[in-house]
Amino acid sequence: MPEVRVLGGLRARMGGAQIEVPARGVRQLLERLIEGGGPGLAAVFYAEPDGGPDTLHEDLRVLVNGRSIVFLDGVDTPLSESDTVTLHLAGARGYPGG
């Protein structure tokens, strides 16, 4: 089962630092986490609470094996049994041109 490591303020919202979630891809993983963690998580993960994984919140960072899914297949990145997923919030709006 893919292991999910949760960093920073998300830990309190998700009830732990390490969670194991059966999922074959990032999309399914996020959906299962929301099912397990209550509707509050949808607002953290998604820009539009009803928008689903296709509208990821701009502050959410998702890594698969230490690599941002932005440089993989986004929410369609597949997950295998031995994969590690890291979730954290890192939103900040500033720096050149931001």
Binding site: G8, G66, H88
Partner: protein, 615 residues
Amino acid sequence: MSFHGWTGVVLRVNLTGGKIQRETLNEDWARDFVGGRGVAARILVDEVDPNVDALSPENTLIFATGPLTGTNASCGARYMVVTKGPLTGAMTTSNSGGRWGPEFKFAGYDVLVLEGRSEKPVYLWIFDDRVELRSAEHLWGLGVFETEDTIKRDTGISDCSVAAIGQAGENRVLYAAIVNDKFRAAGRSGVGAVMGSKNLKAIAVRGTGGVSIARPREMMEAQWRMKAKLTEAPLTSEGLPAYGTLALMNVINEHGALPTRNFKEAQFEKAEDISGEELAATRLATNKACFACTIACGRVSRISEEGVGRYAMHTSPRNWRHATEGPEFENAWSLGADCGIGDLDAILKANHICNDLGMDPISLGATIAAAMEFYEDGVLTDDQVGMSLRFGDAAAMLALCEQTAFRRGFGDELAEGSKRMGEKFGRPDVFMGVKGQEFPAYDPRAIQGMGLGYATSNRGACHLRAYTVSAEVVGIPEPMDPRATEGKAELTKAFQDVSTAVDASGLCLFLTFGITVGDIAPILSAATGVDTSEDDLVKAGERIWNLERVWNMKAGIDASEDKLPRRMLEDGIPAGPAAGQVSRLGEMLPEYYRVRGWTPDGRPSQEKLEELGIG
């Protein structure tokens, strides 16, 4: 120009003869170089031969505030120390917060220029118009904390602010810091050693004056807009207040970019034990702000009950049960992961000692890590070090922190930094840094932009000169692939110019996690009355960057020093997410020179210098 924002006064103290003068700040310089890092660099260029010995009386030590220091613009607490650095031989620019900068401004000055060398230890006492050199013979040999307490007692002015050196500065440890308000430091490149070489123990200041503003209504509106943005951005409203910079420990480790055991590895198995999350859960008393800061990333921490009795120290503090501050991410990394140490109490104690004895924890921890590599490779013996020195040995790390400040035993070697130590023992390859200064906490093999930023930084390896981690790891303003080299030249230049501009304004770099230079420009314009656009401000940053570069080249630090250690270029990261990666500096550097408008051999072209008005 009548001065608003700026006070318009430069205080010049010649320590050799004791002469104290007030001069008018050069208006053109204020306009073109803004303040802080910029104005100080301009003064240094005008007055100091790039080839002087950094620790000689011919070097000049400059403290400079920016036009927004002491205003209510969020994070307007900063001052910059600029001098020729003994660790690097380059122009060094060390920034600090706390309340010293605003207090100095309230006393009526923008810049303090310190020349020469006092015959005997002295400290500088500034109470508004009253400025005098006082004997510091009773303070010499004391740590930063006791120095501050003693000055406050002697003067009876308990609300003065003190910037002091500890024993490390007195003993000219090449990375000695200047520490103000006990826990805030102009930390890197050995500015404290320069102060020590001048026999100047401290600068204590109390200011009861104020900072006037050219266009008040505009100022208030612009800074309210800025504060609102800081409140909206998650990093400045939640992340930094909750976890401080230490929030990065787990993030960087997850990316496989956390240098471990002197950069032999890039992931630390005990990162969680020394993370911001762990500190917040077990040892954080509260968060603390520098003057006027609405973010408050400072950590006020307590050592754990078990940790209080562990690792007996010869020096301070009086009571480990009192609250201390820190650690910042960089310090927890250098004294922790880089030495293979996963004990937060040991890190807190080492960090406290660095504040009290006045040393840069990054260079100190990294130099101890290099010595640990020596020891494990059999280059050093127990007899030479005076103890065993394996990676992960917290007791040895703490003992060496103390020894270094006093240059006792093996500490005398560590006090020279890892470049000189490596050369002395015939293993220059253990030096992990650039231009004589040790790397901070990001592996340039895993984050390509950081490699270019380190290599081209004017003050030696530094994360604060071009924090491309922001784009490459945190995804701000746009995510950029940390493993790619494309676009990193432009990114690095942009970050360098912007960071330099912020450093010149008197504001804190962390603001840029929530706002842009475009938000700072109107505040600066309203405060000073000099209309400054976003482009003007970035241009000023570029101007200062080039000025520093040209001065460095005259000091013999040219493009041949824009390099990384062999380990970063040839030895792939052994394991983790970035396994196999090396820094591809060679792909980025020519492009960087081109983007900068420099010649292919890394010299600012005459056209570029003329365009910037410094030809």
